[in-house]
Amino acid sequence: MKTFGIEFVPMKLYWRTTYYSIQAEKVGYDNIWITDHFNNRNVYVSLSVIANYTDSIKLGPGVTNPYLVHPVMTAQSVASLNEIAPGRVLCGIGAGDRTTLEMVGKEMERPLRTVRESVEIIRRQLAREKGEYAGRKFSTTAGARFNFKVEDEIPIYVGAQGPRMLQLAGEIGDGVLINASHPKDIEEAVKQVRKGAEKAGRNIDYIEVAAYTSFSVAEDEKSARKPVVPVVAYIVAGSPKVILERHDIPAEKAEKIRTDLAGRNWGEAFGAVDQEMIDSFAICGTPDQCVEKIENLFKKGITQFVTGTPVGPTVRGSINLFGEEVLPHFKETN
């Protein structure tokens, strides 16, 4: 089954993000992912409001990270959200964004170990498992157990881009959020997820594989391409060496963009994004162009396509366009 998610970065007034979330539910999206960065509105406040004003769409952080939020707090947050929206909660967790972690003096230490233990702790908390957890990054005592029961399953998606994190996602995730938009990257990513799944004796068919893309749809191609530039800048800045090499992007160019973003030199950073970078790291174009690109990604093994920021030149217009002219190619809609 092909499912569709939409990502919102809570940069806008809460009621605008919520309006678009209601709209996403109406046009037929299955999931809403809200990003978690300290310089935007709080992810769980945003999700709570959305949960209150929607009826069936699934929702969750996409993704939180264990360097800034202890996994017991993530477990608490998604469990509490589940009381507002029973059976509708998802949990996306990953190593985070190196650029933004560095802004607050946090180093991305041992990301694989940190994410693995975080997922284990979140699952233990949600299941109210008794006893201690003694990991290498985190530990909990018996007293850390929830005082309330969580009635529903909350699938945990691992956010991943590099090969080892993708393998980890295959090993332990209910789903994986692949930070990629290009078929080459998705194909390679799915291969790594499968490798990790097989290592753990799991079948990849039971893992939700989501392409978490930078997306933009508009009536004409030029209008669709322009809004993705800032997002592509961040993606280039945060991409591992192996990804940059795959797309022939010099490491120095990516590092310069990263430095400019960290220093809030937006003009410099965005000005360095070229058309090849857009084609490598975004899905954008007219509805027909987007249908073709999305179909290509499903053929490479994804089961969920996420329309990430910016969605389009105007969010409302582009969500409507997506619902009317893209989604019907893939599923029956309202």
Binding site: L13, Y14, W15, R16, T18, Y19, I22, Q23, K26, Y53, T54, D55, T314, V315, R316
Partner: protein, 93 residues
């Protein structure tokens, strides 16, 4: 400003298209933060129920756009030949 009377004067047949245009104004308005949270929550309530074009939905929309961008909202109303329904700019706008 009697918003109820304003809405009553809008023909039923054009209430849905007007609500679509007014929500566009509201979502793009630079002064969106001037709209109190209470009005926003009403708008979300009616939007969730596909009732933004109802009498109460439109009342809340008009209150909101009058604060957020009355100039643009009046243009929309004029497009629907509703020049007699005029939102006032506050000194801050």
């Amino acid at each position: 400003m009697d918003y109820r009377e304003m809405v009553k004067s809008i023909p039923l047949t054009i209430r849905r298209p007007i609500s679509e245009k007014l929500i566009d104004v509201l979502l793009e308005a630079k002064e969106g933060k001037k709209v109190p949270s209470s009005i926003c929550k009403h708008i979300l309530y009616y939007w969730n129920r596909d009732k933004l074009h109802s009498e109460l939905g439109l009342m809340n929309l008009l209150k909101a756009v009058e604060l957020a961008d009355p100039k643009e909202a009046n243009i929309v109303l004029a497009e629907f030949n509703l020049c007699y329904v005029k939102l006032t700019s506050s000194p801050d706008n």
